[in-house]
Symmetry: C2
DNA sequence: CGTTACGGTGACGTACGCGTCAAGAAGTCT
DNA sequence: AGACTTCTTGACGCGTACGTCACCGTAACG
């Protein structure tokens, strides 16, 4: 028992004070992912849980990153894309050299995202039209062969 | 030479009258995809080019579908998702049984897309913030170690 | 003390979306 | 009749994003 204050965690998500660390299971439950996924993300340097012995403990930072990762995925970004964006989000004062490059990447991403948003809006209204058309067809069909 | 009116096509994208059929290469050039991609889509029943002997000829319908396919992909939909949506778009009067089910699928998709659009808007502004922050850092850095 | 529960590390498997040969048919040029 | 190009159908390969399985450690329970 190296560190009682950490080891003494029970299994009942007790309010999670902003700075608490989470075990892999708690993390999985909180974000609805599998342990495999979290380990995979760590192996790809998307998450950096600290270690208590062997066990992973996920910090507030990891939670923030995971949230962004999952959102990025819904937008169709690759994990590698996401890693680069996360790096942008968490840059200290170093890496000035890469900074310019990263900004360019982010700007490209921005315009891609804007385009995607516009197209998405269009697609939504088109799909809405199709749905109401289909609903009308369904109505007609019901009317035709009235049971 | 079975059908001269079709066989007599030269290689110079001559205006493409709305109802003209396209060879695989013309199709590829028009949409910037590879032949492999088009054959793959056909194998997955996303496209249905007609055949002149062995060769594929893509119709106006195929062009419309491909446009939607490519858009769907940018939204992160799987080809299977897209196939189902395309089916919705091109339903005649048959398949009344499946119609209701398909409408449900489409509606789920709709709400997914709306959520995605909202999140995307949020992500865009967040990313914009990050970029301007990064640009400020870059400026500071330039100022600090002025060459 | 055994068992149950949770966590860890490989390592292999898998679905998707094509890329990339290989080998042959079919038309076109000279 | 070659040679060339374009097209065809397999079939295998590959990167991504994990799933799954085997096996090991360790801590807690009864």
């Amino acid at each position: 028992m190296i560190c009682p204050c950490i080891t003494l965690r029970k299994h009942g998500a007790e309010s999670m004070t902003e700075d608490e660390v989470l075990t892999i299971r708690e993390m999985c439950d909180a974000f609805n992912v599998t342990p495999r996924t979290l380990r995979f993300y760590e192996s790809k340097e998307l998450l950096f849980p600290i270690r208590e012995g062997q066990k992973r403990l996920f910090t507030r930072r990891d939670r923030a990153r995971l949230k962004l990762i999952l959102r990025g995925k819904r937008f169709g970004f690759s994990l590698e894309d996401i890693r680069q964006l996360l790096d942008l989000y968490e840059m200290g004062d170093q890496q000035k050299t890469q900074l310019h490059e990263t900004i360019k990447v982010a700007q490209q991403r921005m315009s891609e995202m804007s385009r995607q948003r516009d197209e998405l809006g269009q697609a939504i209204s088109e799909l809405a039209e199709q749905i109401s058309w289909a609903e009308k067809q369904l109505d007609k069909a019901r009317h035709t062969d009235a049971a």
